[in-house]
């Protein structure tokens, strides 16, 4: 198929960006979206032009690098997948596709379609861990049985890949879904309870400091999240936060 691409080009964080039109031809429906971008870039290099910069690495939906806003939707039109898992069979000959970076004040553009997501790093550093040293004599892994249900729920929350689609999908650019996924994972496990109070307070504080917006429960994040992270996690974090605030006061 033949397609028109409207792509955000921006030289660096200081430059002013703009949309630029490109044409690609002979695109196979079996290609992944990023392979289509490879074809575009190969053509640009051949013409001596600068290829379009975009983040990607694993190309199998797990590293969280890829991050394209496609026709206004984070990770594009399909559900439950990342940009790198999107296939061209979702488009048809003659389509125009608009490709932009994540848009959020806390995610400044570095170049073209690449944004800076280090705000997420700082949220994790504020409390996204259990304080245990590596000694070789921590207690046996089976010493504390954990119900299958709690373990499975913790696992569901833990599958967040830190891509940032939730922020990009939200009109307030809120990072609640991302933050609550980590808070929930640890809140659900006995190992995580010990530091639960400080963890939720510190992570929420950092999230606010980074300039992410407030959550108004639109649910857009859950819809676009490639890993199906549930809004339940936000509710759980709110309960944890309330309990922590009461405990601290």
């Amino acid at each position: 198929m033949n397609l028109t691409l409207k792509i955000w080009r921006q030289k660096d964080s200081k430059a002013k960006g703009q949309m630029v039109d490109y044409k690609v031809t002979d695109i196979s429906e079996h290609m992944s979206f990023l392979e289509m971008m490879d074809v575009l870039n190969e053509g640009l290099v051949a013409k001596g032009e600068e290829p379009v910069a975009f983040d990607h690495d694993c190309r199998e939906g797990i590293c969280g690098m890829c991050s394209l806003q496609i026709n206004g939707e984070p990770h594009g039109p399909d559900r439950g997948i990342t940009t790198c898992q999107l296939h061209m069979r979702m488009f048809k000959d003659g389509d125009t596709i608009v490709i932009e970076p994540w848009r959020a004040a806390a995610f400044p553009v570095i170049k073209d379609l690449i944004v800076d997501r280090t705000a997420f790093e700082r949220i994790q550093q504020a409390g996204g861990y259990i304080s245990v040293n590596t000694s070789g004599n921590t207690q046996d892994a089976n010493a504390i049985p954990i119900s299958k249900e709690a373990a499975d729920k913790a696992m569901d929350a833990a599958t967040c890949i830190g891509c940032g689609a939730c922020v990009a999908a939200c009109k307030n650019a809120s990072a609640m879904l991302f933050t609550s996924a980590k808070v929930s994972q640890f809140a659900l496990l006995p190992q995580g309870r010990v530091e639960a109070t400080d963890r939720v307070m510190n992570m929420v504080k950092q999230m606010d400091l980074e300039g992410f917006g407030n959550c108004t429960n639109t649910g857009a994040c859950e819809v676009e999240c490639p890993k199906g992270i549930s809004l339940e996690n936000i509710a759980r974090m709110n309960r944890e936060y309330l309990a922590a605030s009461v405990a601290k006061s």
Partner: protein, 671 residues
């Protein structure tokens, strides 16, 4: 040979590591504050090492080319991690894990290292659970296990099909705790482009800030390389797009020997390729072989009809299917080791029995598993006379719970529903057993320079068993390196900060800058990918699943010629002082073009078939094992460690003779 001293401690194998730890020198906590360590790479190996070294009190600088440690390639590991916990009570032990790993590696690994790996494996699980890693559990709340290829016990711990992700996020959280304390300085979007040696010791690195293009100098008392494997030398592999050999190759050029480069793992269960545009191949976890049955049609005409799209696999009757692994290897069946499974698939496809348009695919079928689980569930839930549909639904739910994300991944790529029609799979490059040579301390042949994780050669011999790479990465980083590096650093407490304004740093930085300048100014005619794809094709065809003298000699000549052309004709758009992905790729492919030649030389030198390295000249000619790989212990029971001397073809071979005192050397049989 003195030059290759493995430094394996004396004494019985069971006591080596304990005695060693009791005797090494320690650094007191006050002194650790004055010692800097650089860790390049923050996958399972580097991430766990960085966190643990920082916990101990060293000042750690860690580097990764992605925008977060959480995105290292380890994140993609699916199936699981081994540990000799014997929670299943099926007879597992440290010795058995050690034995399986040495045998699985076809007797080309160092016994003492492997035994230590087995010994610390149980600690890994304890540590990860303490960190909050949500491993799968059974209804009693205890940890669940599954079995993997090449072994007869269930010792694999898992977190759905995302075990690597959860383990890496565990190491990442441990790192975050140390970053918050100021004990780790994390340099994301940085690429190491050279190591700096002062007075023969590793004292720092040259790195490029990938956002600004700035070339930076970083010094330390020791440098740890944890940059993963070199599978992308084949262009197409299951590795992440950015996975590269640059750090390992750069230290090789500065004196670190490179061991067994030809030992590569071609994984049997990957999604087959479809077209020339393809950028990577996707693994379907080996755990699927627990429940999936592998087959091709028994009749050539059926295969032909499948290839032409005239027939569907579900239309082929049971008796017209050839479950070739079950047929050839009744004892292990679908759970033979990876190298054996891959060659068997190639053998069937080469004979014309492939099942897709390219003729390079076999089936992995879950119909029998769905039925078996369905019947079991019906019993558990007391459903008498369940309908066929009911059995299917119940069975499907179990398969979905076990492998749901893999099935979804498959469906998104292939656009077929694997619950209803068998998956198509074919072997693809996946893992590299070869790597930087290290001694028992995980130190390279350069003092103060360490190498851990997939980047080193140490534990898997000629073939790695499933779920053992995650185990090795975390063993190295959490439990081995923190001890062994302490012994070295105990001699550094009076050294003081390493200055970065020395001539050694000047020289290394200049070489890095010159090379970048060359790429940016060279007005060539072809893109970097053009060369990478060409290299990949040579590697796959001549250094792939089966190798012979003629092909390897051709490969050596062709790679050399391609490299020469690359240095004349490569074209890199953009500048050096900005984010420039083409420039990053150019440097990596330049290194692959050298490594590829050494790879082929190593494969040519090793005229035996062992593990993932299959030489057509070396097969069993008769008996029960007829046609199977033939190892040659009399001549090749050694580690081939190559010393760099200018050009790959000038490399000098050093041999570390392998001694097997605790395991009898036997021909592998999975029959």
């Amino acid at each position: 040979m003195a030059i290759l001293d493995s430094k394996v401690p004396k004494g019985p194998i069971k006591d080596k590591w304990t005695t060693y730890k009791d005797k090494i020198n320690l650094v007191n906590p006050a002194n650790k504050r004055h010692i800097d360590v650089i860790v390049v790479g923050t996958g399972l190996a580097g991430g766990s090492a960085a966190a643990t070294l920082a916990e101990l009190g060293y000042n750690v600088k860690a580097f990764a080319y992605q925008d977060s440690p959480r995105r290292a390639h380890s994140i993609a590991a699916q199936g699981g991690i081994n540990a000799a916990k014997n929670y299943m009570g099926d007879g597992d032990s440290n010795y058995r894990l050690f034995y399986d790993t040495v045998k699985g590696g076809d007797y080309r690994s160092r016994e003492a290292n492997v035994y230590r790996l087995a010994e610390v494996s149980a600690n890994i699980i304890d540590q990860c659970v303490a960190q909050g890693v949500p491993f799968a559990r059974d209804y009693g709340g205890l940890l669940d296990n599954r079995s993997f290829g090449g072994v007869l016990v269930s010792r694999t711990f898992y977190a759905k099909g995302q075990t690597g992700q959860q383990l890496l996020l565990g190491a990442y959280s441990a790192m975050n705790r140390q970053i918050a304390r100021g004990k780790i300085d994390m340099y994301n979007r940085h690429e190491m482009l050279d190591v700096v040696k002062v007075d023969g010791k590793a004292r720092g690195i040259i790195a490029r800030n990938l956002v600004t293009g700035e070339i930076e100098r970083h010094s330390a008392h020791a440098v740890v390389i944890a940059t993963g494997g070199y599978g992308n030398v084949y262009f197409l592999s299951t590795n992440a797009m950015g996975s590269n050999a640059t750090a390992a190759w750069k230290i090789h050029k500065k004196g670190a020997f490179f061991a067994n480069p030809c030992f590569t793992q071609i994984h049997p269960t990957c999604i087959p390729r479809t077209g020339d545009y393809q950028s990577k191949l996707t693994l379907m976890s080996e755990s699927l072989r627990n429940d999936g049955r592998i087959w091709v049609p028994a009749k050539l005409e059926d295969a032909k009809a499948l290839q032409e799209g005239r027939l569907k696999p579900t239309q082929i009757a049971e008796e017209d299917r050839d479950y070739y692994l079950e047929r050839r290897y009744p004892a292990f069946g679908n759970l033979v080791p990876r190298d054996v499974a891959s060659r068997a698939a190639k053998e069937r496809c080469d004979a014309g029995y492939g099942v897709n348009a390219t003729g390079e695919a076999v089936y992995l079928d879950f119909a029998a598993a769905i039925e078996r689980y369905g019947k079991e569930q019906a019993k558990i839930h007391n459903i008498s006379n369940p309908s066929k549909q009911k059995i299917y639904d119940l069975g499907k739910a179990i398969v979905e719970a076990k492998y749901g994300n893999l099935f979804q991944m498959y469906e998104k790529i292939v656009d077929e529903n694997p619950y209803e029609t068998p998956m198509m799979i074919y072997p693809a490059t996946h893992y590299t057993m070869g790597g930087v040579w290290v001694d028992y301390n995980l130190m390279t042949t350069v003092p103060g320079l360490y190498c851990i994780g997939e980047a080193n050669f140490s534990d898997h011999g000629a073939n790695r068993l499933g779920a053992s790479a995650l185990m090795q990465g975390l063993a190295d980083g959490y439990f081995v390196l923190p001890y062994t590096i302490g012994d070295y650093l105990s001699h550094e407490i009076r050294t003081g900060k390493i200055p970065t304004d020395s001539p050694e740093f000047d020289e290394a930085e200049k070489a890095v800058k010159d090379r970048i300048e060359f790429f940016i100014t060279n007005k060539g005619s072809h893109s970097v990918d053009y060369y990478h794809k060409k290299l990949g094709k040579i590697m796959w065809e001549k250094c792939g699943m089966s190798r012979n003298e003629k092909g390897l000699k051709e490969a050596i000549a062709e790679i050399k010629a391609l490299r020469e052309e690359f240095w004349k004709e490569v074209k890199v758009p953009g500048g050096s002082d900005e984010l420039n992905p083409e420039l990053e790729k150019a440097g990596r492919v330049a290194d692959f073009l050298e490594l590829g030649e050494l790879f082929a030389m190593d494969a040519l030198n090793r005229n035996e078939s062992c593990g993932g390295h299959f030489r057509e000249e070396s097969v069993e000619l008769d008996g029960e094992q007829k046609g199977e790989a033939k190892r040659n212990d009399a001549e090749y029971a050694y580690v081939a460690a190559w010393e760099y001397k200018g050009e790959p073809s000038d490399s000098v071979l050093h041999k570390e003779q392998l001694e097997f005192k605790d395991i009898e050397l036997k021909q592998r049989s999975y029959k």
